[in-house]
């Protein structure tokens, strides 16, 4: 591993985080810089290395190879250049005068440099075969693993002398090379410049790779989203031509509309099951199961509404997903619980006295909660209006107080965002009301109750269809 490390250090300066840690380490070693190695350290929890001496030993190697070395994908890359294992590396065997020398220092020298002849084209780091025969792998991932495993034990040598480190690395490799060569410690200007160039190039390469990987990942996410959208669309027999990320908001609304339509169908199925169960005089235990399924289905639409509200709060808040007749009764993005209760109570009789009190309390508390939310929304209206007006006198032309105007618009945006929390609380209220209703009533009463709810909204939807197709004069 040593020679591989060396190789990598020299060539793979400033490697991206996705690269094996060794590369960071190498870089850090070479330049006596900790940040890259700290990345590695973070990743692997190893302790810091003292690579000062290591670096010195590397200098001669660097000098040797700099002439041939191209930052990233050199046409004639020295064996050390294997920045990205996945990137094809054309390696031409180049026996070097120094190869033998470096061969000696198995750990630190860029073994790859020296053992060019044995390098395989696609292998990221082909360290000197002499020193690390096991290093050779045409499989980049395997190679990376090797490197990683090689690096892993290394931390134990954190405070090791350069010598020891080399030795350890050598030992790990099972390399046969004996002594490590301690190069001259001269750091002349040329070397420094080359080191800097290496650093620059590797950094660029790292950044490029990062950008590429990020692009790939975002494309992947987009792809899965598109696939999901497509699936939903196909399930509904529609085809939505999704635009890019820009139309996310509108696609969120469209998706919710589809999901709601599917929910309604599913709800009809639950209703049919309830009715069948009631008519078949199923025992309470069975009815309870069906009922729980029905209630769970209501929970599902509230969950979907929550997601849709995050994507497009106005679509949910304004009830654009409802039919016109339903929208008539719109309150904060859905039905008003106390109104629904008023409709239901006559359908639920006969009720015991306790149940009746429970229903009355439920009606009262839902009314109080609705009132509180409505007043909160009123306060939101007021502050929003104030903010919009505060952007500048309404009599002035829009560009009269630009800075002030924009600042107030920014505040107004923040206020608008609060709408989502109101929709969420309103849905929460609806959900809690349905659950409390279930708790107050017996199983049979609850079955009749939910059947009544289903029937009521079904009729409202039918009314909407009739309205849409009514003859106009």
């Amino acid at each position: 591993m040593a020679s591989n490390n060396n190789t990598r250090r020299i060539s793979e300066v400033g490697l991206s985080d996705s690269e094996p840690s060794t590369q960071h380490l190498v870089y850090g070693v070479l330049h006596g810089i900790s940040p890259p190695s700290s990345n590695f350290i973070d990743q692997h929890g190893s302790t810091a290395y003292d690579f000062g001496e290591l670096e010195e030993a590397l200098i001669p190697k660097v000098l040797q190879n700099d002439g041939d070395r191209k930052p990233l994908l050199g046409i004639h890359p020295p064996p050390t250049l294997e920045i990205f294992p996945s990137w094809p590396v054309r390696y031409q065997p180049t026996p070097r005068a120094h190869s033998h020398q470096s061969g000696e220092s198995t750990t630190d020298s860029g073994s790859a440099q020296n053992t060019g002849s044995q390098l395989e084209p696609e292998s990221p780091v082909s360290s000197s075969q002499k020193s690390q025969p096991n290093r050779r792998s045409s499989d980049p991932s395997l190679h990376q693993k090797q490197e990683r495993s090689d690096m892993a034990p290394a931390p134990s040598d954190s405070t090791a002398h350069h010598h020891n480190q080399s030795k350890t690395l050598v030992d790990k490799r099972g390399a046969s090379s004996s002594t490590e060569r301690v190069g001259s410690k001269t750091l002349d200007a040329k070397t420094l410049r080359r080191l800097a160039q290496n650093r620059e190039a590797a950094k660029k390469s790292r950044l490029r790779k990062k950008a590429y990987v990020q692009q790939l990942e975002s494309s992947k996410i987009k792809l899965t989203q598109l696939e999901q959208d497509l699936q939903r669309a196909r399930a509904q027999g529609l085809f939505i031509a999704g635009a890019g990320g820009g139309s996310n908001v509108s696609s969120g609304a469209a998706i919710f509309d589809m999901e709601h339509a599917r929910w309604i169908e599913e709800n009809q199925r639950h209703m049919a099951e309830l009715r069948a169960g009631l008519n078949a005089h199923l025992p309470d235990t069975d009815l309870r199961l069906i009922l729980d399924g029905c209630l769970g289905h209501y929970d599902e639409i509230f969950r979907l509404k929550g997601i849709a509200a995050k994507a497009d709060v106005f679509h949910v808040f304004s009830g654009l997903w409802l039919t016109p007749a339903e929208r008539c009764f719109l309150w904060m993005g859905g039905f008003k619980p106390s109104e629904l209760l008023k409709i239901l109570v006559p359908q639920l009789e006969p009720l015991t006295e306790q149940q009746f009190i429970g229903i009355c309390n439920l009606q009262q508390s839902s009314q109080q909660a609705e009132e509180a939310l409505s007043q909160g929304l009123e306060a939101l209206h007021q502050s929003l209006a104030d903010t919009v007006v505060g952007g500048g006198s309404l009599g002035d032309p829009p560009n009269h107080h630009v800075t002030n105007y924009m600042a107030h618009m920014a505040i107004a945006l923040a206020r608008l965002a609060n709408l989502e929390s109101f929709v969420r609380q309103a849905d929460n209220l609806r959900q809690q009301t349905l659950h409390q209703l279930r708790r107050i009533l017996t199983v049979r009463q609850a079955v009749r109750c939910f059947l009544a709810i289903g029937e009521y909204y079904s009729r409202l939807r039918a009314l909407s269809s009739l309205w849409a197709s009514r003859p106009r004069e």
Partner: protein, 124 residues
């Protein structure tokens, strides 16, 4: 407004200096039957205040944006509530009820009124 906005009168006492914000929150919460931590510009806080007033309860409100140590208390509340929204935060009888959705859920399921009666905030 029917709720006490002069609650800060008690807070201004020097004994509150140097306390850990969470401790302060809890101490303030224990001082009155119904305590609401709020921000004056927050509309949901307005809604929760209206809820209690509508029930005939007189909550003690602390507006964190009007308190020099409000920011710390906000952070403490965020941790306490386990959510990114510090306010509104409701305490009844010194015990944390929670944010708006917990308050509403407990009102709907009928557990809020008994709590209020127990804390002496409601008489029937």
């Amino acid at each position: 407004m029917h709720y006490q906005t002069e609650a800060w009168g008690a807070y201004m006492a020097p004994r509150t200096a140097g306390t850990d914000p969470l401790e302060r929150v809890e101490r303030l919460a224990a001082e009155n039957a119904v305590v609401i931590f709020s921000i004056s510009s927050c509309c949901m806080c307005h809604a929760v205040k209206r809820l209690f007033c509508g029930m005939g309860v007189n909550p003690t409100v602390y507006e964190l944006d009007e308190d020099p140590r409000g920011k710390e208390m906000e952070k403490a509340l965020v941790r306490l509530l386990g959510s990114s929204q510090a306010v509104p935060a409701v305490f009844i009888g010194g015990k944390l009820i929670g944010p708006m959705d917990r308050v509403m859920a407990s009102h709907i399921n009928g557990s809020l009124v008994p709590l209020l009666k127990e804390a002496g905030a409601l008489w029937l």
